[in-house]
Amino acid sequence: MTAKAGVGALGVALLAILIFLAVSSWSRQPAVAKPSNQPINFPHNVHVGTYKIDCQYCHSEARRSEYAGLPSVERCMGCHKITGAALPEVKKLAEFHAKKEPIPWVRVNKLPEFTYFPHKAHIRAGLKCQTCHGPVETMTTYAAQTGPRLTNDLLNLVGLRPAPPPLTMGWCVDCHRKENATAGRHAPLDCVTCHH
């Protein structure tokens, strides 16, 4: 009987822990868009994989700005006036260009407002885009799997050290620590570097 009570108590305790972990991971969940409903079905794998176009040819802001930037419609048309002009998706693009309207891309990667992430510094440090954004060259539609996960929290809780999911804080910190330890860099670990 006593044992039963003990088990009960333990159960309650665990439940409590679970609940607040769930809450915590949920409350830290950064917004991630569904990549499906892009205005134009843009295949990264073709551009990066097949044609080996450098990421920064289109995302040209990355090396000089906080944002990686999106190619202007004109830049897209630079190639697509001729290349694949017949393709239905490219026709959509041509329409936007004709109407002089920007393409309303659906945002995929978005860090919380309280996080400052400059692409520039990371490009300067010679990081490959894939390190953070995954194997883009193989993606037909670009998507990001990110955000804290409950499973991850639980593994942490029982003392295991799972690799933090991409684009979460622990993941950034891991990389910065590793680079400082191995490559002898000075990647900042100060909170206010990213949170100000």
């Binding site: 950064p30 917004a31 868009a33 569904k34 802001e61 000089r64 700005s65 906080e66 944002y67 930037g69 999106l70 190619p71 202007s72 419609v73 004109e74 830049r75 936007f96 260009h97 002089k100 309207e101 920007p102 393409i103 309303p104 891309w105 659906v106 945002r107 978005k110 919380p112 407002e113 309280f114 996080t115 400052y116 400059p118 520039k120 510094a121 300067r124 100060d190 909170c191 206010v192 570097t193 949170h195 100000h196």
Partner: protein, 967 residues
């Protein structure tokens, strides 16, 4: 492509990036249709233009992020302000993004309110009216009123008027300093306001000239004042100020002489008399002061004869000195005589040509004399005017004495066109409103003084459907004249083309360069003048109203100027330095009067003049002359501020103009602000003021410290005593990289509040409203304290900018349970908003109480949220925040250095408060770099830490104020 088009496009993408606020599940990001060279999303680009918040015409750099302006800074190349900016300039952004910005053209419906219209329709009405009047040969019935436009824009407006045969344009500036012009006509035979070389003066003798607040060019002269006055810059010139009320300027004086209101002229003559008698001035000046008797003068002015004597000595012995006059007390019926007397002082002391320089004359000299304004008012009242065109920035119904009955006169005008872009008391009377673009969205130029022409260029696309006044006038003008583009008197399609053609001879082909520099600047030779010596009428100013009453000093306010800046909630909440009051107007009453009538702070008083009655809460001041009451001008709330759910302003008027008669200065015809005596009656009700500072008494805690000039000089020679290391059991924190620190020179600080507003603009600090501010919930990261020492009726005021001290042993850090407050590796005291739980323990434990808490979720009503700095988090309710020493600028500075493959150099990183400070009282730098200015200053003998005895070891070092012996 044209920059204007590209702005239109880039604006779209700006919207996505510039948003603060909460996270959305999905959002779309819009790329540019066409790439452009000028703007990289995420990287700020800067555009030079000219501040038009007042006629001082300071140069401005506008920081553009994603097509929207997020911050204004002074233009370092501009000769007037050299990088500094006052609080009004900083707050201009709130005018740009004002929620009440008029959305588009409006036409009055019969007697009722406005209804929106298309530009075509609205302009058509104007054209019809114009053609009708011209057809009837009544061109003279057209009147054009604009603010001071000293450059080509003014020329264009005049040309428009001539083309349509209208009356000569009236430039309306309530503070025109006509007496100075008139006096210069009399003494020097020159109708101009000269350049006063503060920087070269050893002694400045000011008769009411509030040059730190509004007089002529508050940033420019504050800068120069620091040069001649601040101990740091080697010279310790003397500044003597004569005024019945201790204004901010007076409180910066080494000696403040409190005189009977309106007797400045007599005092000046008495000083001249002493100079002549004691052989400190040429005998020729004797006949100018023949009628002046020192003893009688002492009685009338209420200034002791000894004081007059030693002031005279101090002034005469200065090589050179400088006497200036202005401010409300010198706008009485005898203003011109007073200014003449001051001219004679300068002439007698041989300052003319040295510190009083004709040649680089001020633009104020071009303001239409008040006599003509009055004439226009009469004409309107008499029904002679059938069409009135009001440019942006003019609000005569508010800024002119009700004695002129201007509002009524305007109501008599059949057709009133207003170009206001924010509704005000005058645009309410208009029949057609054609919102002009804000000056940050416009082309233009402005010459604050001869030889300095600042160029205005659009720094962003118009945020509302507004058009440049010039474009509209050109269009309707051509339509009325029946000419088309390229022909006739008004050939230019837009004001942009007009200006570019007008600038061509000046910029000599390098327009881009001129725009980048912000203008065309040249030195103007000083013109030689000779002084005409003639007797001066020394009688004090005549005051209307009850002879037993108190002289009303309705003084221009540092924060709101004539009221045009009062639309900014930043300014409403940045305290008036002397009273530390926010959000409300008050009537300043001397202690003597208060005791007589049993008045306490916050009691409602009825201020009665022959013109009417004004009801305001009382502020009891020990320094005000017993014979006077003072009310700041320009206080008004806009509809938007009344909409803010946490602001409950009093709807009744706070404008002393409503009780001023239309009195003028006899000689110059200038508007006389000090022209009436008022009587006070206690209403029995209360309207407590929101006063931020609990007390001006330091209670011997030596927060703001001062040192005697002689002692300071000795110490400076001896150098600083070796600073013994603090005794501690713990190992000192090691800083691998730089260690940031700041020094603040209390001696240089003039208390102008510019830093406070700059900080608010840079760091997305919200306003909290009157009630919260009164209850100690204001969110300013940087506050400017006034500490009064010595006799309460003539105290020595010390101004102490107080911000997070970034203590090396910070009391806030160990108590934070979650490391939201922690020590960074660069000596900052970091505050991580997203980690903060809001226990507020740190706030309690901070001895300086500089930590601020988000009591509510504060609002940034659209479109104000566009102004938010994208590099700074917008804080959520329930978190602590405080000064970060502009960590975003530190990050940016280090980034720039790394781009150039070098370490951070001194001056790479400039905090917002430091950047805007007119007197450069604030210095930020790396304390580990012995060469940095900040480090050098920390070694100064005047260096000290606030509350040093607690052992917090702050990274912010203050330098003691240097007080002169005879202060």
């Amino acid at each position: 492509m044209k920059r204007r088009d590209f702005f239109k496009i880039v604006t779209a993408s700006g919207a996505a990036a510039a948003a603060g606020g909460c996270q959305q599940a999905t959002e779309s990001i819009l790329p540019l249709v066409v790439p452009n060279e000028q703007i990289v999303p995420g990287v700020a680009s800067w555009f030079a233009t000219v501040c038009r918040e007042c006629p001082a015409g300071c140069g401005v750099l506008a920081r553009n992020r994603e097509g929207r302006i997020v911050k204004l800074e002074g233009n370092p190349d501009h000769p007037v302000n050299a990088g500094a900016l006052c609080l009004r300039g900083q707050a201009a952004l709130q005018g740009l993004y004002h929620p009440d910005r008029i959305a588009g053209p409006m036409v009055r419906e019969g007697s009722g309110g406005f209804k929106t219209a298309t530009w075509e329709a609205a302009e058509k009405l104007v054209v019809e009216k114009l053609t009708a009047l011209r057809g009837a040969g009544k061109g003279r019935a057209i009147a054009l009123v604009s603010q001071l436009e000293s450059g080509s824009v003014g020329a264009l407006l005049d040309r428009w008027g001539q083309a349509l045969g209208a009356r000569p344009r009236v430039t309306l500036e309530p503070f025109a300093y006509e007496p100075i012009r008139a006096a210069n006509r009399i003494t020097f035979n020159r109708d101009a306001i000269p350049y006063y070389a503060f920087e070269d003066a050893e002694t400045i003798l000011s008769f009411g000239a509030d040059f730190i607040e509004t007089w002529l060019s508050n940033v420019g002269y504050a800068r120069m004042f620091a040069r001649m006055h601040s101990f740091r810059d080697g010279r310790a010139g003397t500044f003597i100020h004569v005024e019945p009320r201790q204004s901010l300027t007076a409180s910066n004086a080494d000696e403040w002489v409190r005189n009977v209101p309106g007797t400045e002229g007599l005092l000046a003559l008495a000083i001249l008399r002493v100079m002549v008698d004691e052989g400190m001035a040429d005998r020729r000046f004797g006949d100018a002061v023949a009628g002046v008797d020192l003893k009688k003068a002492a009685e009338t002015t209420g200034v002791a004869a000894e004081t007059i004597k030693h002031v005279a000595k101090a002034f005469a012995h200065a090589k050179p000195g400088l006497a200036i006059g202005g401010g409300v007390a010198v706008t009485g019926s005898n203003a011109t005589e007073t200014q003449v007397a001051i001219n004679l002082l300068n002439a007698a002391a041989g300052n003319v040509g040295k510190t009083v320089r004709f040649g680089p004359d001020s633009a104020y000299g071009k303001i239409t004399p008040h006599a003509e304004v009055a004439a226009l008012a009469r004409a309107m009242a008499g029904g002679e005017i059938e069409m009135l065109v009001l440019g942006p920035g003019v609000n005569p119904a508010f800024t002119l004495p009700s004695g002129l009955k201007l509002a009524d006169a305007i109501r008599k005008v059949a057709f009133v066109v207003s170009f206001a872009n924010v509704p005000d008391q005058t645009s309410e009377l208009a029949h057609v409103v054609l919102p002009a673009t804000h000056w940050l969205e416009s082309w233009g130029d402005y010459a604050p003084r001869e030889g300095v022409l600042g160029l205005l260029q659009p720094t962003m696309a118009p945020i509302r459907d507004s058009r440049p006044m010039g474009d509209t006038l050109l269009r309707v003008g051509r339509a009325a004249l029946g000419t088309e583009e390229g022909k006739g008197p008004l050939p230019w399609p837009t004001v942009e083309q007009y200006l570019k053609s007008a600038w061509e001879p000046l910029v000599k082909g390098d327009l881009e360069g001129a725009l980048r520099r912000g203008g065309v600047f040249a030195d103007v030779a000083t013109a030689a003048v000779t002084a005409k010596i003639a007797p001066v009428d020394a009688s004090p100013a005549k005051l209307e109203g009850d002879a037993a009453g108190l002289a009303l000093l309705a003084y221009p306010s540092l924060r709101f100027y004539d009221g045009r800046s009062a639309i900014s909630s930043w300014l409403q909440e940045s305290p008036d330095t002397m009273t530390q009051a926010v959000w409300d107007a008050w009537v300043e009453v001397s202690t003597e009067t208060a005791q007589k009538l049993g008045i306490a702070r916050g009691d409602m008083l009825a201020v009665k003049s022959p013109q009417g009655t004004l009801e305001l809460p009382a502020y009891v001041s020990p320094t005000l002359h017993p014979g006077a009451v003072a009310i700041p001008l320009g206080h008004r709330y806009t509809p938007y501020q009344q909409r803010l759910q946490y602001v409950a302003p009093d709807p009744r008027s706070m404008n002393p103009m409503t009780i001023l008669p239309a009195a003028t200065d006899a000689t110059s015809g200038a508007l006389a602000f000090m022209s009436v005596k008022v009587t006070l009656t206690k209403l029995g009700t209360r309207r407590p003021l929101a006063v931020l500072q609990a007390t001006h008494d330091q209670d011997d805690r030596e927060l703001a410290q001062h040192v005697d000039l002689r002692a300071a000089r000795e110490q400076a020679l001896r150098g600083k005593a070796p600073h013994e290391p603090p005794i501690t059991l713990y190992a000192d924190k090691q800083y691998p990289g730089p260690r940031w620190g700041m020094t603040i020179d209390v001696d240089a600080c003039v208390g102008c509040q510019a830093c406070v507003v700059a900080c608010q603009a840079e760091n997305n600090v919200p306003v909290v409203g009157k009630a919260s501010a009164a209850y100690g919930r204001q969110l300013h990261w940087l506050r400017l304290e006034r500490w009064a020492e010595g006799k309460p009726e003539r105290p020595t005021n010390l101004f102490l900018p107080m911000l997070c001290q970034h203590c090396e042993v910070a009391p806030c850090e160990p108590v934070c349970p979650v490391f939201a407050a922690y020590r960074t590796d660069e000596g900052l005291n970091g505050q991580v908003y997203n980690r903060c739980v809001g226990t507020r323990y740190c706030g309690n434990n901070c001895p300086y109480h500089v930590r601020r808490f988000n009591w509510f979720q504060y609002e940034f009503p659209a479109p104000l949220e566009v102004q938010l700095n994208p590099d700074v988090t917008v804080r959520q309710l329930g978190v602590m925040e405080k000064c970060t020493m502009c960590v975003q600028r530190i990050v940016a500075g280090k980034d720039r250095a790394r781009d150039e493959k070098r370490g951070v150099r001194d001056g790479d990183i400039v905090t917002a408060c430091q950047q805007t400070c007119p007197t450069q009282a604030i210095t930020f730098g790396n304390l580990k770099d012995e060469g940095s200015n900040a480090t050098k200053l920390t070694h100064s003998p005047r260096a000290y830490h606030v509350l040093e005895e607690i052992g917090t070891r702050p990274s912010v070092t203050y330098l003691r104020k240097v007080v002169r012996e005879h202060a």
